[in-house]
Amino acid sequence: MSITEDTDKKTGISNLTDRVILSVGHAAAWLIAVLIVTILVQVVLRYIFHLSFTALEEIQWHLYAVIIMIGLSYSYVKDSHIRLDILHSRFSRPVREKIEIMGIILLLWPMLFIIFMHSLSFVEESFRVGERSDAPMGLGYRWAIKSIIPIAFFLLFIGSVSRLKQAFEYLKNKEYLKKRKASHGS
């Protein structure tokens, strides 16, 4: 079940961040089409006109890099990252929400924090020395493509904040309903 199809009422902010991530993802998904076209252009140039351009080949892995990195946060919001579902499907909803909260805080966030912080200095280094391709006829501005790493992991972070918020909302509502039920019962 994907979060966006979740019937639970979502708070405004969660809705907004998820929508941002989905829109960014949908835009990035079109890069797959661009990648296909780029490859076809290369094939035509090489096999019909006997031309080859290193820059064109490098554009391909640049596009691929953006696709896979932005894909991380998109799959997250779509809840399609693979889980071991042996027990998970048998847990009650509140247990699953609690696992989600613990997972985000103890597992996901430390990983995001470390990757994000180090990726900033990684990009900065590349920018400082004006890094370009190692190939003589390759592309410049390596920092630009490297900066997809912090961008992607930041998107993943705001996705996780939104998910965390939903989990807390759910548990709070549940608690509230339980209390109300209890008070009605008495």
Partner: protein, 331 residues
């Protein structure tokens, strides 16, 4: 004495002759000579990080040392290629003369300092000429080069590109397959003993000499500057001595094994050893001079090193023309 563990990623597998197999010996030398106060723990390429990332990781202090080659950092420091190998450039003895008794070493260290990399550089190897490529048919004229799809590395690649070759830069492991499938028509890679291991002779039978693009290649050890500064004078001297000793080890090893490899290529694998015609060599050299001028025009740092080397080589050329016997090529 203070104990030091150098975590050191490699850019050549230790199974590779000279480039890689010199490193376990170097590590053992340093460990023994320092009575165990310095230990080198080396990691095969890709085990910690891929080779092209080594400079950055050492400079940032993610690891405290690493092995590499200037040509690997061309994207970050264009002039670094000059400290790896140079088309129509110096042979091993001349290169070493410039490095250790000319301004070479000072310029080498200055290059990293100026580019803002926090590393101490120590050359640890210089190796024999490479072959200038494996082709499926003889190349007799500039026309034969046009439209050829070839794998080529470094500054020589710019030269080939100018001559109408479609140059690509495949990693070592992908060359054979690309050659076999006809994705590329020709390739250069390394000196004969290593080319032989990769098995290019199984597919293409024309091996060209001399390796105009790479007459000698320097490899380097990088140590994080903070780590270097924290070492005792004795430890520093130990590492410098060991890397210098490894230069003798590598050049003698690589000079010792090529003849046998070349002979095997011809006698058991049916390879044709070819030697570029004077016209072709002149063409490569002319084109290289254009490329070098373009590079120097683009970058003052490149120009400074290039000018110093050129001045050194002018004097050396006079000596070389008188001091040595003329060479005869056996083809």
């Amino acid at each position: 004495e203070k104990k030091l563990l150098l975590k050191t990623p490699l850019c050549f597998a230790t199974s590779m002759p000279v480039l890689g197999d010199s490193i376990p010996a170097l590590a053992a030398d340093i460990e023994a000579a320092s009575n165990g106060s310095i230990q080198i723990k080396y990691y095969e390429p890709g085990k910690l990080i891929p080779p092209f990332e080594i400079l950055e990781a050492v400079s940032m202090g993610k690891v405290n040392a690493g092995f590499g080659s200037g040509a690997y950092w061309q994207g970050k420091i264009p002039e670094a290629a000059l400290f790896s190998s140079i088309p129509f450039g110096p042979e091993a003895d001349e290169y070493l003369a410039w490095l250790f008794k000319g301004n070479g070493m000072a310029l080498y260290q200055e290059m990293y300092d100026k580019a803002g990399y926090n590393v101490k550089v120590l050359p640890y190897a210089i190796i024999s000429p490479e072959t200038s490529g494996w082709f499926s048919k003889p190349i007799n004229s500039p026309e034969d080069l046009k439209g050829l799809k070839m794998r080529f590395f470094g500054l020589g690649g710019n030269v080939m590109q100018k001559l109408g070759v479609a140059v690509s830069l495949l990693p070592a492991g992908e060359i054979f397959q690309a050659l076999e499938k006809g994705v590329i028509d020709a390739t250069e890679f390394s000196f004969p003993a290593i080319d032989q291991k990769l098995g290019f002779y199984k597919i293409v039978k024309y091996n060209y000499y001399p390796g105009w693009h790479q007459q000698a290649t320097i490899l380097e050890m990088l140590i994080n500057k903070d780590t270097w500064n924290s070492m005792t004078p004795g430890q520093k001297a130990m590492v410098e001595m060991a890397t210098k000793a490894t230069i003798i080890n590598t050049i003698s090893h690589s000079e010792a094994i090529q003849g046998k490899a070349i002979r095997e290529n011809v006698e058991t694998h049916g390879v044709n050893n070819m030697y570029w015609s004077d016209d072709m060599l002149a063409l490569f050299e002319r084109t290289w001079k254009e490329v070098a001028q373009e590079q120097a025009a683009q970058s003052p740092a490149f120009k400074k090193i290039w000018d110093d080397l050129t001045a050194f080589r002018a004097d050396y050329a006079y000596w070389k023309s008188l001091g040595f016997l003329p060479r005869k090529t056996k083809i």
